[in-house]
Each structure stands twice: as structure tokens, then as C-alpha cells.
Symmetry: C2
Subunit: 138 residues, 2 copies
């Protein structure tokens, strides 16, 4: 079980740089850093998106192979970045009765995904000249 | 002395997202991941650039507050990404007689810096709509 959790945590959703060719094996990791504890990166965005889909922080944490506590802390940190809430939670049960994204939370995710898409295109366009120089060996 | 080294290592060159306004406090961290051990990120690029300026791996390592061994390993990892050398080193002395970037190495740095500039512009353009929603509190 622990192994399965680990495996899931090791394969988060990552933005591919190209659909085919050598660069299709490359992925992008983009982090926007406001300060040491105020960052937006793929970890927080994947988690928020998983909460939107599963309807609760605990289900999303389970799916991504992290503790409820870690998921809660990540969302707390993410939420503090903004003046408006990204998430509403309902009381009930040990770990709350469920969580729902606000329209603002959905807009933040959408902006990050657009940034990823546009950045992947930038990277592809700059690295395409280097494709024949990149080693394919692992 | 150790404190000074630490301080230097804590303030690597980072790409700012905007020149003014709330986003001017945000920086960008961009990593292109080919595999677990094959990544291009700000750490390797900063180091390669510092080697170009100082003329040796040991001077660059000292300036960035890392061990010679770590710097050497990072450059070895960086170099293995490509079929062509990014760096030429001369023998002599305990830590080699100096290092010089190849034209190819300089082209790789230039491409990464262009990617950073263009990505910062993408992030700025997408986040500008959120500026009034971002908390300024630390």
C-alpha cells in the first residue's frame, strides 16, 4: 500500500513540452515565487484541481498519496496568497464534510494552466534548434 | 565565513516577473525536466554563467557558496544532456587550471535566458488580472 501511494505521488500531472520528437520526453516545472512560503507551483495547482474533482481535501490527498495534514497545509498556504477564498469547506466528519472551489479558485487554476501551455510553447520554440544536440540516452 | 557563504547561496539570480507593481516582488523558477537526473534549471544555468565570468569551476563554486565537488557534479550532469561539450577545462593545479565555455555552452545559456524572459512576460500577462487579489502581507 505504501508503495502504491509512493508511486502515485511520483507521477504528478506534468506539462509536456511537445507532442512528438525528442522534446516530447521533456516536461516543464514552473514555480512563481512571491516569498519563501508564498509560491504557486504544480504541486498546489494539481492538488486544488484534484479537490475540485473529488469534492474533498481528504479524497484528493489520498489520490495524490499525501497526508490530509500536508494537503490542508498546502491549501492554507495557497489560500493566504489571495484576498479572496479559493475554496469553501463544509463542516462535518473527522476531516470536514467536503470542499468546493470558488469561481475565483477555478480562475486561478485556469490562469496557471494557460501559463503552462504558453510557456511550453516558448520552451519548444527556443529548444527546437537544439533538438539534434540533445542526448537521448537516459 | 560560513554565514557569508550561506547568504550568497540563498540569493541566486532569479528572473523577476515585472519591473514594478505587486508582481515585481515575484520571481520565476523554471525547470525543464528530461528525466530525474537530466534537468535544466536556474541552478545549473547560474553556475555555468558564473564559470564563464570567473574562468574556473572552483572560483564559481566559491562565489555561489557551494563545494567544488557539487559544482563539478552539476556541470557533469548538465554536460551529459548534450552531444556537444558546453565547457572545456584545462589541466593543472588541484582543481584544474581553469574552465572556458564553448560557443555551444554560451548558446545554451542564451536560450535559457530568452526562455526566462519570454516566460516572465507570459506570467505577467496572465497574472495582471489578479494583481488586486494578491495579498501583499508576507
Amino acid at each position: 500500500m505504501a508503495g502504491q501511494k509512493k508511486m502515485k505521488a511520483d507521477v504528478p500531472r506534468r506539462k509536456l513540452i511537445a507532442d512528438k520528437g525528442p522534446l516530447s520526453r521533456a516536461t516543464l516545472r514552473l514555480r512563481i515565487v512571491f516569498s519563501a512560503e508564498r509560491k504557486i507551483g504544480p504541486g498546489k495547482v494539481d492538488l486544488l484541481e484534484t479537490i475540485a474533482r473529488t469534492g474533498s481535501i481528504s479524497s484528493a490527498a489520498r489520490e495524490l498519496g499525501m497526508s490530509y495534514r500536508r494537503a490542508w497545509l498546502l491549501m492554507d498556504e495557497f489560500g493566504r496568497l489571495f484576498k479572496r477564498p479559493i475554496l469553501t469547506t463544509a463542516a462535518g466528519g473527522a476531516h470536514g464534510g467536503g470542499a468546493e472551489l470558488t469561481d475565483f479558485g477555478r480562475a486561478v487554476i485556469a490562469a496557471y494552466r494557460r501559463i503552462e501551455d504558453r510557456t511550453a510553447e516558448v520552451v519548444r520554440s527556443e529548444l527546437v534548434a537544439f533538438e539534434s544536440d540533445i542526448n537521448n540516452d537516459p
